[in-house]
Structure formats: structure tokens, C-alpha cells
Amino acid sequence: MINKYSVRKESIVGIALLLILLAVMTVIDFFLPSYHIAVMVIKKASVYALVAVSMNLLNGFTGLFSLGQAGFMLLGAYTYAIFSIPVAKRAGVYQYFDGGWIQFSIPEFFSEFLGETIGLNMGIILTLILGGLVAAFFAYLIGLPVLRLKSDYLAIATLGFAEILRAFFQWPNLGPLTNGSNLLKSYPDFKSATGYVVLIGIFIAMIVLLVNSTYGRAFKAIRDDEIAAEAMGINLAKHKRLAFIISSFFAGIGGGMLAMYMGTLQALSFKSTMTYEILLVVVMGGIGSITGSVITSFMYIASMEWLLRGLDSGTFLGIHAPGVFKNGFRMAVVSLIIMVVVLFFSKGIMGDREFSVKGIVKFFDRLFGKKTPKNAGGDGNV
């Protein structure tokens, strides 16, 4: 049934779009200093996109209302920092704890063998993945008891888990590992925003592939009707746990990358407010829409960190009104925007639809008057 010609055209358009994105990123990295606001926004927004998509996998695609995201991010962030701080800097970072227990650095180890560029970046990526694995392991442990709970109770239990974890990581007795309530810093970062975009692009692509695989369909079946899913041979406990573990894995990686972006790490940053912020992105983008989460992450971070900054600091859109545009006004405007979005797009800006290359190709075919056959392998996408 699938039209060979249109499939080939889609892959060409898709690859072209990816190349354009890559070119734009390279240009940005080449011309803008790494502290430029645009670079910062791209880094942070792509991290948020990954965490939002991971949350969407659980809340949107599997129908499990979990609020543990900040906890799993914290696990990933700490794992990343602990295992990547260069050995020489540990004495300074862990100054109250005799340099800490751990005296090796994974990225350093790799850069010794494979050189500063390849080795270091590979080490960073592997340490980030290790962070994801630690988060996934915790999800595996708490998954069994917690996932028996129904909706609101699940939300409360996971929220509690995240809060307990945060307190635990600040425990002084764990200081030689976590540095207690002091900062962890001096760990390596990607030199460019391209590194963030490419790595996160790969992770999100994997989630997309998962969602469209037979396991993804099983998750959606559980979301749509648990009783029917179970009656069709889908083991609820196993699949819910699987979704929980995978979602936490990517949240852990996102946490590690957020630590990387922030430059310094403190358990205090991973409050439940962060989970709510990500939930907000997921809901505004559309529960069950991956592209919705990605687009909203970029819009949200860009307006919070950049476009609306002026609302807090006196001048906005060239209007100088320090009386109105002062601290706190930005949040008021953001809340207003959120309310408008929720009122007019009750299912988020994308609903449960997706932007797809297929959709774009169809759009242009229509624009130039070519008729695409109706139902040509369509999958209900835009």
C-alpha cells in the first residue's frame, strides 16, 4: 500500500532538513561566543526537550501520571558530575571531604587513550549514559511497588521519592560522594551547542522509534484501555515498569546534561518546581505529541530566558518603563500566556498529532498543486 516514490522523497527531504539544521548549528557555534544568549537557549532548550519527551513517554504515551522526573534527573546529574570531575580538581571541589572517595574520571580516562577531542567527548557521552543507567536502576527498584498505585497516588509517591532523594543527596555523611550541600563543579562540558543538539537529537529519535514500535503500541494500548490491553495478552506490570525505566533513563541523561549546561551542580536545583516546569511543557505541547514537547521546550526556554527578560529589567520591545517592567512582571506575563494557551488549545498546541516530514512533503505537494493520493500510507499525522 505504501507509495515507494513518496517514501524516497520523504527520506530526501528529511535528510536535507537535518543537514540544514546541522549547518545552522555549526554556523552558530562558529560565529557566536559560547556565552551568547542564543547558544545558552539552544543548549538549555534541547535538554528540556529531552526531559519533556521522556516525561511524555510515561505520562502521555503510557498514561502513567508520574511526577518523579526531577528525582531521576538528579540521579543522572550527580552520577555525571561525580564520575567526570578531573582527578586533579577533586581536592578543591571536595575540600571539606578530603577530596572525596572517588579518585578517577571517566572522560579523563578516555582522553588519555583517544585524545582530547574524541576521547573526551566519548567519555562525556558514556558518563551521561551511566547517569541514565543509574536513574533507570532506581526506577527498576521503585517501579514494582509504586506502579501498582492509581493515578493521583502514583503522582504523590513519585513526587515524594524525588524529594526524599534530594534530601538524601545533601546528607553530610554522603559528603565524600555528593559533596553534601556544597557545589559540585569543574566537570567537563561539550565545547559547542552542536554537541547538545546532535546528542539529544539522537536520544529523541530513539524515543520516537520506540513509540512507533510494537512496544510503543503496547504502551498506548495500556493508556487507552488497560482492561482491553490485558485481555489482549499485554502484561500490565511488565510494560508499565518498562516505560518507567526507559523514561527515567532518558530523564537521567537529561539531568546529566542539565548539570553540564549549568556548570555547577547542587541538589537544591532539582526541586519539584522543575518537574512542574517540565509537566507544563508537556501539557502545553500536547500530551502524546513528541514534536509538541520539543517545540514547546524551545518556545518556553527562549521566552523565559531571553525574549521576555526585558519584562523584568526595565526595557521591553524598546519601551523603557522601569515602573512596570520590574522584577516579577515576566512571571505574570508567562502565566497569562499559559492561561491563554490552555484556554484556546485545551489539548496543547499539537494535541496528540506530530509534525512529520511526510506532513511537510504533503503540505508542499498541495501548495504546488500536486495531488497526493488520499490515504497513501497515511498515519494520521499532520
Binding site: 522509534l209 514500535s213 510494537t214 498506548k220 502484561n235 502524546g288
Partner: protein, 283 residues
């Protein structure tokens, strides 16, 4: 009656609080048979299905599939005191067995639902394809990385064949819930067949259908039974459907078996007529 039934219920009782929905029900389905379970509204038919498929754990009794006990229960805990069914002590020394519904489906029992339960965000095609998930050998890694292309292709082909058989292929990419009622019921049957069952449980498959559609459905049920070597247990209120297409009938009222036998015997039984008195046929 055959010595090797595919399904056998022995003294199955399901009590909710003080309500005994199914009371000491024993029945059997032999290989290749179409057996009907009838009874007025609230008689306990759907509850009996739920006891077979693991949705409910019965309060007492045994369910055997292909000669092996798949569900074993006796009154426990609070039920010990308030048990109002029969044969309370019969299975007291047996270990209770309480599998989840997916385990039972994997053994080869598939079902449809009285109040249709299709996955509403999915297309017709996806609904059937998703039911094939339990048969897939791929793990989550090979599935994500698309390493099991041969299996994916096979699953898709089998799904299309099932849709073609039900004349649903032309709705392949429509949302399942956008289909007319009768077609949704057929889609549920296709979805159940996708799990490759040996025994098919149909809960009011002809509900909401006109006489002609009902007749077609009956012929279709016989046809798939032959084609896939199935045995079928069905619940139905359309008496003409039951009389024309079932080999044997069990009639229950207030959870209790009141009569069983061939359609002729059951339709002339005074207790059955009394139970149905005042209940219109096509409800």
C-alpha cells in the same frame, strides 16, 4: 459429552460483597463446539466470562483449560465468613491459582467485550496489530532499533489478512472508534483472533445489529471457527442467533444454571421460558 473438553468450569462462584453474581456454575465447551450462555439481564453471564479470563478471581471453584486447572479458588479471608454460595469447603485444601488476564490470553483464550473496548487513539489497523504484540519475539532493544524487520513485516501481513477477512481493509487507516457500531464489533473479533486463540469468548457479539447483520455474523462465526479450528463460547440475547448457530446452550438465572442442552431442549424448557418472561427477545 466429550471426555476432553477444551474448557471446563467446576462449581464456579463469584460473590461481590453480599451479591452472588455467579453461583456454583459448572459447564464445559468441547473442541470445535459453539456453546451459548444465555440468561436475563444481570444473570451473571459477563461475570462468568470475567472469571474465566482472570479479570475477577472467583470466590470458589475451578476453571480448567485443555485439562489443566488455570484458575483455582476457595473462600478466603472475609469471604470465609460471608460466603453465600454452595460447596464452600470443596476446594479448601487446594492451592489457589489466580493468573492475570494476559497469562490466560497467552494460553489461548481470547475475548471480546459487551461494551466495546477498542483502543480509541488507534486506527483499525493498529488495533489488530497491537494485539499481535504478545506473540512478538523481539525485545525492546531490537524493536526500537528495528532489527526485527522480518517479524514486523509478518505481523503487518497477518493483520492485513485478518482485516481483509472481516471486510475491514478499506477502513485500515481510520480511527477504530469512527466505525459504525456493527463494524466495531467485528473489529473486536479480528483483534481477538490476532492473538491466535484456541478458544474464543464473545460477549454479545450481535448486540445492536439488525436481523440481517445478525444472520451474517452467525455465518461468519461458523466460518472462522472452521478456518482456525476454534471452539467458541458466546453470550447472546438474540434468540434466533443462539438457536441457529450454537451446538449447545447453558441457561442461567440469578447466577445459577437452570437448564442446559441442545437449542431444542433449552428453548422448550419451562424454567427458561419463565426466566425470560417479560424480557423482550432482542434486548
Amino acid at each position: 459429552m466429550s471426555e476432553n473438553p477444551i474448557l471446563r468450569l467446576e462449581n464456579v462462584t463469584m460473590q461481590f460483597g453480599g451479591v452472588v453474581a455467579v453461583n456454583n456454575l459448572s459447564l464445559q465447551v468441547n473442541p470445535g463446539e459453539i456453546v451459548a450462555l444465555i440468561g436475563p439481564n444481570g444473570a451473571g453471564k459477563t461475570t462468568a466470562f470475567n472469571c474465566i479470563t482472570g479479570v475477577y478471581q472467583p470466590t470458589n471453584g475451578i476453571v480448567e483449560f485443555e485439562g489443566k486447572p488455570i484458575v483455582v479458588a476457595h473462600p478466603e479471608g472475609k469471604m470465609k465468613k460471608i460466603y453465600a454460595g454452595e460447596n464452600a469447603a470443596l476446594y479448601a485444601d487446594r492451592h489457589s491459582v489466580n493468573p492475570t488476564p494476559d497469562t490466560i490470553t497467552k494460553l489461548g483464550i481470547a475475548r471480546t467485550f459487551q461494551n466495546i473496548r477498542l483502543w480509541k487513539s488507534m486506527t483499525v489497523f493498529e488495533n489488530v496489530l497491537t494485539a499481535k504484540h504478545m506473540l512478538a519475539k523481539q525485545n525492546v532493544f531490537s524493536a526500537t532499533l528495528r532489527l526485527a524487520r522480518a517479524e514486523d513485516r509478518q505481523m503487518a501481513e497477518e493483520t492485513e489478512a485478518l482485516l481483509a477477512e472481516q471486510d475491514l481493509l478499506k477502513y485500515r487507516d481510520d480511527l477504530a472508534t469512527s466505525l459504525p457500531y456493527g463494524l466495531q464489533r467485528r473489529l473486536e473479533i479480528a483483534r481477538a483472533l490476532a492473538t491466535k486463540p484456541k478458544l474464543l469468548l464473545l460477549d454479545e457479539p450481535a448486540a445492536g445489529m439488525n436481523p440481517q447483520e445478525t444472520q451474517e455474523l452467525g455465518e461468519f462465526v461458523v466460518q472462522i471457527k472452521e478456518k482456525y479450528g476454534l471452539s467458541i463460547l458466546l453470550i447472546e440475547h438474540h434468540m434466533d442467533f443462539v438457536m441457529n448457530f450454537s451446538d449447545r446452550i447453558y441457561a442461567i438465572d440469578f447466577g445459577k444454571l437452570i437448564c442446559d442442552g441442545t437449542p431444542d431442549v433449552v428453548s422448550n424448557d419451562q424454567r427458561v421460558i419463565d426466566a425470560y418472561l417479560g424480557v423482550s427477545e432482542d434486548e
